[in-house]
Symmetry: C2
Subunit: 196 residues, 2 copies
């Protein structure tokens, strides 16, 4: 049963998958045709073999530079800075952004020993240096304590270059309910209130 | 991004894993070293290549016959009939059973078109036929409507052979709370009450 145990152990390494779920997934696959199991294995191999960080923006990609960096239809004067490559997908889903991206691959976290040197900060500053066409940097790090600290840190680096620095608006989520919103969010929504 | 999309789609096929969890797992793996991704792929391949049903009991195994059927230390006079190979692991964890197993690979379910012919019933009856050393069959199908119907069906087939047929006890789960037990379980616990 070593193969079954091995697979369950590998599944159990994944985030949010405990021992019981790992076994359930394993036994589910055992009841599927072997070719279906191999299809998942091939998809994993493809990712392991072909996905790498874009040398320009740090996005995860099969082609280098990535689709955004190599697209002639994206606006090179706006750069959106995100924590993770997965955040790009979330922004792209809105269909409202047409600039370029830069992936930090994390956030400042002194407690975890993550400083600017552990993030793609040097490559970001290189893109904003002499001859850069970037006129605005949108700091789209998460609205968390660490994301906020990262944004403030980057703002201090970027603003002296004469580039506009913006941050995603905070406030009530669309479809949310004032009654259930937390106080900090309501405070942010108040502070950021706009004329109708 | 085809490789990333493919992997997310494959994950999303697994039970209990929706689109969002599939993406989360995919992006998690993308941040791990490629060798770690390949280790999961190899574990899947090993299962696809090596795991098959035991020709005697239907258990999922790398070696045929399986560890239980081939063990000289298991008692061949008791046979425990379960719905799925994964149920064997649950019973083995108790350390209280030392007989052999038979895996039906399902349960009777007329609504899903699953009759005796779709289950490992013929092979079960063959094991109980002339010259069989089995003296007791424990019907350990699930305590559900379908598991119950399957047990009753098998009882009618097996009892005429002069073999003792038993069923796992039903009652209050250990550590459970009478207040929160459902009525059917309490009724079963009452009907099955024992002298102290």
């Amino acid at each position: 049963m070593a193969a079954i145990e091995d697979l369950a152990s590998e599944f159990a390494r994944l985030p949010g998958i405990g021992r019981k779920t790992a076994l359930r997934l394993t036994y589910y696959l055992l009841k599927r045709p072997p070719d279906e199991i191999r299809r998942l294995a091939r998809a994993l191999d493809a990712v392991a073999d072909r996905i790498r960080a874009c040398s320009q923006c740090g996005n995860l990609t099969e082609s280098d530079p990535c689709v955004y960096c190599s697209s002639p239809r994206r606006d090179p004067s706006i750069l959106c800075v995100v924590e993770e490559a997965s955040d790009i997908a979330a922004i792209e889903r809105t269909g409202e952004y047409n600039g370029l991206y830069h992936v930090l691959a994390g956030r400042l976290s002194p407690l975890e020993g993550i400083g600017p040197a552990e993030l793609n900060v040097a490559s970001l500053m290189a893109r904003l240096g002499n001859g850069s066409r970037v006129r605005e940097v949108i700091l789209a790090t998460n609205p968390s304590v660490e994301g906020e600290a990262t944004a403030v840190y980057l703002q201090k680096l970027i603003q002296p270059l004469g580039i506009r620095v913006t941050r995603l608006a905070r406030g009530l989520p669309v479809g949310g309910d004032l009654e259930y919103a937390d106080g900090v969010t309501i405070a942010q929504a108040l502070a950021g209130r706009r004329e109708m």
